[in-house]
């Protein structure tokens, strides 16, 4: 089985978010970048398939050269080979078309991408990619088993979960649950050394549609001060929620 894990290079989840250039760009100054957490759960599940079922695991990312440390981290975790499509990932539709080209040329059976990236939160890349390639697709996937050509995938639904049966080739929109948080791997020194020697192919983007453009960003309005209520006077909270906030 040949697996492609698509990874995004995103700000660490603890990052403070600021904008620059007249609020038209995300300010990367002082921001630490990481593998998108939803992708990392998928990558870790892919490592399981590599170790238990002999799968080959490649990673692909659409991004500039600044994304390479994150791609190398995926190699250090254990992916065999990496591909970087040399373009800024500004639009999900554009990114999906680039990744579709990678999948088509690489002949992958299983593609795992995060259900959304934690920067632009578009949540569309896995589904568009699957549809462009006419592959099966399961979104918000929290469990995945592959047996030959058959796949059993459980997805999170509002208020519960649903188990689905499908076949390869398959695209997964993954998230936490594919593996547990405690299963995530921190690359060890040997992994990091080996990652330096692994293949990282840089390819140029194909001509593709750019469907959307972020023209301006802004931040939520600053929050007013919290109204503190004495623990001995809980009744006051009930009163405020009813008469002031009008939510009960």
């Amino acid at each position: 089985m040949k697996i492609l894990v698509c990874i995004s290079n995103v700000p660490d989840t603890t990052s403070k978010i600021n904008f620059t250039d007249g609020d038209t760009k995300f300010d990367t100054n002082g921001v630490q970048f990481v593998i998108n957490p939803n992708d990392e759960f998928g990558l870790t599940r892919a490592m399981w398939f590599k170790e238990k079922q002999g799968a080959t695991v490649h990673v692909a990312s659409v991004g500039g050269i600044t994304a390479e440390p994150t791609i190398r981290k995926a190699l250090a975790i254990g992916a065999d080979e990496a591909i970087r499509v040399n373009a800024e990932p500004t639009d999900g539709y554009f990114v999906a078309q680039q990744l579709a080209e990678v999948v088509k040329n690489g002949g992958y059976d299983l593609v795992i991408a995060g259900r959304e990236s934690l920067d632009y939160n578009g949540g569309m890349v896995p589904g568009i990619l699957a549809t462009l390639l006419d592959m099966n697709f399961v979104n918000t996937c929290i469990e995945l088993e592959i047996d030959g050509n058959n796949a059993t995938a459980t997805r999170e639904i509002d208020g519960g979960k649903e188990k689905l049966a499908t076949t390869l080739p398959l695209v997964i929109g993954g998230q936490k649950g594919l593996v547990a948080e405690s299963d995530l791997r921190i690359p060890n020194m040997r992994g990091i050394m080996m990652a330096r020697k692994k293949v990282l192919n840089v390819i140029e983007p194909i001509d593709a549609t750019v469907a959307t453009k972020d023209v301006k960003f802004d931040k939520p309005a600053p929050k007013g001060a919290v109204k503190l209520i004495d623990a001995a006077n809980v009744e006051e909270l009930v009163n405020l929620l009813h008469n002031e906030a009008k939510v009960i």
């Binding site: 989840t13 603890t14 978010i17 957490p37 539709y93 999906a96 259900r115 934690l118 920067d119 632009y120 939160n121 578009g122 569309m124 896995p126 589904g127 568009i128 699957a130 549809t131 697709f137 399961v138 979104n139 918000t140 997805r155 999170e156 639904i157 509002d158 208020g159 519960g160 979960k161 649903e162 188990k163 689905l164 929109g173 998230q175 936490k176 649950g177 547990a180 405690s182 549609t209 469907a211 959307t212 453009k213 972020d214 023209v215 301006k216 960003f217 802004d218 931040k219 929050k223 919290v226 109204k227 623990a231 809980v234 909270l237 009930v238 929620l241 009813h242 906030a245 939510v247 009960i248």
Partner: protein, 322 residues
Amino acid sequence: MSVLVYTESDNGSFKKNALEVASYASEVAKQLGTTATAISINSNENKTLGTYGISKVLNVSNDQLNTFNAKAYAHAIIEAAKSEDAKIIIVSSSSDTKFLAPIVSAKLGAGYVSNVVAAPDSTSPFTVKRTAFSNKGFAHTQINTAIKIVGVSYNSFGLVENNTSVSVEDFNPVLEDADFSTKSVEIDKVTGKVTIADADIVVSGGRGLKGPENWGMVEELAEVLGAATACSKPVSDMGWRPHSEHVGQTGKPVASNLYVAIGISGAIQHLAGVSASKTKVVINTDPEAPFFKAADYGIVGDAFEVVPKLIEKLKEFKAQNA
């Protein structure tokens, strides 16, 4: 052309988000000087949509679609968009809709913007405001394709009544075997309990509750308020509560009217995930907990004392206002 909206139902009844997206579609139609058409699948309540400004409903009744299937539902919506010559398609932000919308997007070559929180900034160019960076920011996004898909966030636009005379037409899209290449085997869903996505009120517990055995009072508070229960990430990581209750950046987003955080300190990832909630209450022993900076109301105190008292006072309140 008209504006097309997919109004989701469950067991024949519209979900709350269906009426919200109908309201949104009606507003967009008004801005564009056209009408709003809904596509509904196996719903018994189509006439209701007239209340929210929908003038035509394409009613799909098909036993093959009794269980949600993303590809087949997407196919039905695509056929409806073609038949209506719709240039704008409005959908919700439910799990099911986020599953099917990218499929519709790719098949129609339509730009899709999810998590939209307000009526369009402008219709030419078509620009919408959406959350980005996990609710730490907003993006104003222009959609440049001929057909545009807008995914409306929960509880962001609200229900807007706009009584309109509505016609219901049967619509029978031809589905193919290939639409059913992924099959539902088993659905495991909590019944009789409000989900985090649909809830007006969410009651959430954190590590401050010390162990899963102490969740009784969280459940009871939720019951009194008619709320859904949720939890912080460490709580789901430790297995005290199921992952489906984890709210925050890597869990579920919350956009309720009221969010009550008990024993949750308020890590930046958690605050991002719940920031779309309109009113936030925090109960925590530590007055320095970051959540106090993000909340509207706070009680510095021991949850084991405060919550039972709060339940008692809410019961009295409910009894008086019943």
